[in-house]
Amino acid sequence: MATTYLRRAYSSFAVHILDIPPRLLAFLMFLLVLSLPVTKPTEHILLLLIQASIMAIFACSWDLLVGRTGQISLGHALFFGLGAYITALLWFHYDLPVWVTIPISVLIVTGLAPLIGFPCLRVKGPYLALVSMALPIIVVSLISYFRDYTQGERGIAGLPGFFPSLPYGQRFVAEYFLTLFLLLVSSVILYRIANSRTGIVFVSILDDELASKACGINITKYKLMAFTISGLFAALAGAVSAHLLASGRSVTTASLDANLSFMVVIVAIFGGIGTMYGPIIAAYILQLIDQYVLVKIWNVPSEYHMLLFIIVIIILVLKWPRGVAKFVTDELDDLQEEREIEERGKHIWKRYRRKKRSPTPEA
């Protein structure tokens, strides 16, 4: 009896969890980041990587909502900021420990997400983008208005950390592993969701809403589901980041700021929308370029490096509108196709040339 369950658990683990396409590559990269603290990096680098992991979770959740379901959201910091604020308020008013406030806040935001998604259901395209951008601004105004309860613009500082018993230097390493673990778990879950039947339904809504409705799909339910799942992980990222040393263990209205919403869009676009793994890589690369390469190696003054960074992003988006990762995978696909042609003979080559020349409308 027990062995059957164990075998079933193992096979479901093997089929569902280990089935990430470039499996070995992902595993090796994970080993690389896992073994990084062995090289005794400075606190600055650890701080960067912790922030990058949080950004990666956040960008991944955005990618599920926008890249897979097509609900363009420019105010995703709403979920992030709500998660951060609720855990901070629970600590501030009820003095609860970290391991209680974070799950409660994630649960509350997950419960709120369908309510937030509800006004977004009726609108489409540019209207949706602008409405979603408006929602965090409403929340920021409410926080400023009820500043007796929420501390207003000053924010809430001095939140409890995760590992109070460890010495200061080791806390960074511990938090690094914690965020890495959370990133691994949430990205695997999001990837599995994105490639499950539900994920395919999400993509069908992105491709053609009317056609999927005609196929008998309850669009409302699936859109709300996308909002809820996406909100859950964004809230997780926000709630965890509020307690990290990397964010100074404080919450301000900056966690609901439009800049954060734009940042996640930039990260996801850079990595390739709808790939689910692209945003993770992009979060690390951009964070390292932004905070390390430009600051430490090239010594660019701090006013300029953000400017350079945004200009580079604009040029990248202009050059490859579908994202850098999509561009690379497309190139790889082309290479593979050419190799196949070399192996299988010239008649395929002719057909291939003809196909290339005639412009076929792409969906």
Partner: protein
Amino acid sequence: MIPRTRKTLALTAIAAIVVIAAVAIWWYNTIPTAERGLTLLKTKSIIIFGIVSGGTFALLALGFTLIYGVAGVVNMAHGSFFMLGAYIFYVFTSPKYLEVNIFLAFFIAIILTGVIGATVYRLTIHPVIEELTSLLVITVGVALVFERLMIIEFGPFHYPIPGFVGGYETILGVKVTYTRLLAFSVSLVLFAALWMFISKSKMGRAMRAAAQDLEAAKLMGVNTGRLFMLTMALSSILAATAGILITASTSGIAMPFMWLRPLVLSFAIVILGGLGSIKGTFIGSFIIGFVDNIVVFLIPEGSYLGGAAAMAIMVAVLLVRPKGLFGKRIELEE
């Protein structure tokens, strides 16, 4: 009841106004006689400032709706042109840089912003005009670039924007500065001029054609690339005018983060009225102007809630009419 057609919408609006008026009269009779003077003054302030700020908001949102209506571009950098107008105006009026006549400075500022707008359109927006997500990202990026440039050049400080004329006029016991009245009247004149331009001139006809059917307009020989660029220039000129007049008549300072609030306000107005509808923009801006002033005057410390109330009204209207008050109803396929 959900108003589906324009007729039911108008009926609902009239019914709502009647109910509000009845409640207001009843409320006015309940308050004690000694406090009636203050309440009356507050009501008058709300009405006058609502009309004045509604008129100036119309100028702000007009450029946003124009470029969306003609080219289908959701221009997130609209607030940046607002900011650029104010900054260039500051440069040409302050004794620290170049001091010229204030009206000359105004014209230099709006024309320079127009040129910048056209350049931004050619370089960044034109290549991705088909893809909504790329477009949003690029225009947001442009807005952030301008914010950074202003921080690098001027620092995160506040700069004074001079008013055009001093003094104030007392209307029904409420003091309104001349700069504010100037902003209001310039806004109305520009609105009427633009309306005439779109309905009468050749380029306006081309704009309407492109808004109706892009492919057909191209087939009829409209150079849409050039048309969109000129529309963008016009839109940024309107934004810069709004930037100078609104900043001079309200806060009077220019700062690098001033682009977000006008952007959000123009969202609220334009979405309320329906994206791309000029009539809707006009009505939406008055609604938002009134809501803003009602919240500020009636709720204690209400200035914190000004933006939130505008947004809440916008979301509420969208729940009832997903394409705004005067937007097209949702077709089966986009």
